[in-house]
Amino acid sequence: MRALLLVLATLSLVACHRREPEPAPTSAEKSATTPPSAPAPVAATAETPPPPASGGATVASADGEQLFQQNCATCHMADGSGVPFLQPSIRGSAWISNENPQLLLSLILRGSAVLGEAAQAYENDMAPFDHLSDVEIAALATRVRERFGQPPPSKPVTPDEVAIARSRPGLP
C-alpha cells in the first residue's frame, strides 16, 4: 500500500511539473482584448497597476505598459519587486520618483554602467535600451514613474526630454 502511495505521489508530482502551460495570447491579442489599466492575467497576485494618468499622458501610458512588460518586467518582475541578489526592486526607487526624469532616462538609455559602484550591489548588469525610440522611452519612463514612483512624479516624460538625455554622455 505504501509503495502504491509512493508511486501515485511520484506520478502526480511528475505529471504536475511536466504540465505544459496553456498558450498565452500574443501581445497583439492582449492589447486588443485587455484594457491597459487591467492587471495582466499572470500578474493577478501582484499589485494592481494604477490607471493611466489623465490628459495627454494617456496614449503614451498605454504604450508604456506594453513596453514595460516587454523590456523591464523580465528582470525587474511585473510587480517591480526584482530578484533577490540579481536585479533590484524598482518600487519607490529614488531615481524613478525624482520629478526630473534625466537620471532615469540615462539609466534606461545606457544601462547599469551609469551607476558605477552602486551597480555592484546586484549581480547582473542592466543592458542599455537605446534601441528604443525617443517616443517609446518617453512612454516607458512615464509608465514606470506612474507605477513605481513614491510618490509618482506628476508630469509625463516627453520625447524631447529623452532626446536631451540621449545627446549628452553619461549622467546629467
Binding site: 505504501r2 509512493l6 500578474a43 533577490p84 546586484y122 549581480e123 543592458a127
Partner: protein, 422 residues
C-alpha cells in the same frame, strides 16, 4: 518517575554514540517544516532564520557547516540528540557558495578564492586561521559563485562561470550580437583542476579541464563511476534578445538546465548553442544566427544526460550514500533547485529538491522526479521575491538523513524516512 542513574547513563550513551540508528531518528515536525514529501518521509527544522544560505556539508559526527551568501560560515551542532541545533556558531567572512570536507580539512569558496581550515576532532569551530589554496579567480559579480569538488584522483576541481548571458553585444538586449568567445573562454566558463594542498595557486597554475559553459553551481563525485557530474544553468531572455523568433512561452520553457559528466576536454556548447528540452535538440543561440529552429552542428557538443525544465536554477547536488532511505534512492542523487525568475510573465517554478536515479554503473538513467516541494509556499509565484524559502544546499548526513539549506530565510531542514503511513 525519574529514570535511574543507570538508565540515564544508557540514554546518554545512546545520544552521544556515533551515527544514530534508524530507531533514534528525531521526532519530525508536525508540518514537516512546510515541506511536501513522498509517503514515508518526514522532515524537521534543524535551524531557522539564519542568513541567506548557500551550500552545506555534514561532518562525520553530524555537525553542519553552511556557507552564507554574504557573510561567514555557520556551524550547527545538535548537542542533545533531538535533531534541532542547540549550538550555532559563525566564523570566517567573505560570503560565497562552495563548501566540502576533505582529508580533515574544511574547504570553502568565496567568489574569487578557495580556502581551507584544519578541523579539530570534536571541535565545532576550527581553531586556526584559513589557508588560501587558490586566489584571484575572475569575479565580475554575475555568475561568480565558485563551486568545487574533489575528484577520484584527489585533485580539486573548481568552476569559473561566465559573467554573461550569451556573450551578446549588448548582452541581454534586443538584437544582441554574439562575440567571438575564444579569448573569453580561456579564463571563463569552465572547470579548472588544482592541487588541494598547495597554497596560493592562481588560475594560470590550474589545469583547464573543460570549457563552453555559462555557469555551473553543481559538481559532485559519484562514488560508483568515480566520475564528476555537473549541472549547468541555461541562458536567459531568448524573447528579449530575439522577440521575432521566441514567444514568452518559448522563453519560459527554454533552454533546459542540464546535467553532464565532466570529462577532460569537454565543450558544453555555450555561448553558441542551447538545449531545447521539448524538441530534445541542441539549437543555435539567436546571438549566433539562431531562429528557434536552426540546429547546432551535430556531434560537436555532448547531449545532456538529464534535461530539467528551463530556468529552475540547479544548485547543490548530493549522491545518496546512506541506507536510511528505501532501496530506490540508494546510489541516486538529490539536486536542489532554487527556482526560476526568468519565466516571467509565466508563473515562476522549480523551487524544489529533485531525485535523479543513477544506474548500477554510476550514471544517470536520464529521468528525474520532484522529491521535496512546498519550499516557496505557493504553487505558482509571480516573482521569486514572494518565495518563503528557496532550496540551495543539499547534503547527506552520516545516518542517511538529507539536509537542505534555504537561500532566502535561512532555514535548514532534515528529511528522514520513518516509513509511517500518513
Amino acid at each position: 518517575m525519574h529514570p535511574s542513574p543507570l538508565t540515564r547513563f544508557l540514554l546518554l550513551g545512546l545520544l552521544t554514540a556515533g551515527p544514530a540508528l534508524a530507531a533514534n531518528l528525531p521526532k519530525p515536525d508536525a508540518d514537516n517544516g512546510g515541506l511536501t514529501l513522498p509517503a514515508g518521509f518526514r522532515a524537521l527544522v534543524v535551524a531557522d532564520k539564519l542568513k541567506p544560505l548557500r551550500n552545506l556539508v555534514v561532518a562525520d559526527n553530524g555537525d553542519l557547516y553552511i556557507k552564507t551568501r554574504q557573510a561567514g560560515i555557520i556551524a550547527l551542532r545538535d548537542t542533545d540528540g533531538d535533531g534541532r541545533a542547540d549550538q550555532t556558531e559563525e566564523f570566517g567572512e567573505g560570503g560565497g557558495t562552495g563548501i566540502a570536507i576533505h582529508n580533515g580539512w574544511l574547504y570553502h569558496s568565496t567568489d574569487s578564492a578557495i580556502y581551507r581550515y584544519k578541523l579539530t576532532p570534536g571541535q565545532l569551530v576550527p581553531a586556526g586561521p584559513a589557508e588560501r589554496i587558490v586566489r584571484d579567480l575572475p569575479n565580475k559579480r554575475q555568475h561568480s559563485a565558485k563551486v568545487f569538488a574533489f575528484g577520484a584522483d584527489g585533485q580539486l576541481y573548481v568552476e569559473v562561470g561566465s559573467p554573461s548571458n550569451a556573450l551578446g553585444q549588448p548582452d541581454r538586449a534586443k538584437g544582441a550580437v554574439g562575440q567571438d568567445p575564444t579569448e573569453f573562454l580561456k579564463t571563463h566558463g569552465g572547470y579548472w583542476r588544482f592541487d588541494p594542498d598547495k597554497p596560493d595557486q592562481t588560475q594560470a597554475d590550474g589545469h583547464h579541464v573543460s570549457t563552453g559553459h555559462r555557469h555551473s553551481t553543481t559538481i559532485a563525485l559519484n562514488p560508483v563511476s568515480k566520475k564528476l557530474f555537473i549541472a549547468i544553468h541555461g541562458r536567459d531572455q531568448l524573447n528579449t534578445v530575439a522577440p521575432q523568433f521566441y514567444s514568452e512561452e518559448d522563453n519560459a520553457e527554454n533552454p533546459a538546465e542540464v546535467l553532464h559528466v565532466l570529462e577532460e576536454g569537454a565543450d558544453f556548447g555555450w555561448p553558441t548553442t542551447y538545449w531545447d528540452p521539448r524538441a530534445k535538440q541542441r539549437k543555435l543561440n539567436p546571438e549566433y544566427g539562431g531562429d528557434g529552429k536552426k540546429l547546432a552542428p551535430a556531434g560537436k557538443f555532448p547531449d545532456p544526460l538529464v534535461a530539467f525544465p528551463a530556468h529552475w536554477s540547479p544548485m547543490q547536488l548530493a549522491f545518496y550514500s546512506g541506507t536510511q532511505f528505501p532501496e530506490k534512492y540508494r546510489g541516486g542523487a538529490f539536486l536542489a533547485f532554487q527556482g526560476s525568475w526568468n519565466r516571467a510573465p509565466k508563473p515562476q517554478r522549480g523551487y524544489n529538491v529533485t531525485f535523479i536515479p543513477f544506474n548500477k554503473s554510476g550514471f544517470p538513467v536520464g529521468t528525474f522526479e520532484v522529491f521535496a516541494d512546498g519550499f516557496s509556499g505557493a504553487k505558482d509565484l509571480a516573482s521569486p521575491g514572494d518565495a518563503k524559502h528557496r532550496p540551495n544546499g543539499v547534503a547527506v548526513g552520516p545516518d542517511g538523513s538529507l539536509y537542505v539549506s534555504d537561500a532566502t530565510a535561512g532555514r535548514v531542514w532534515r528529511i528522514i524516512y520513518t516509513g509511517e503511513n500518513r
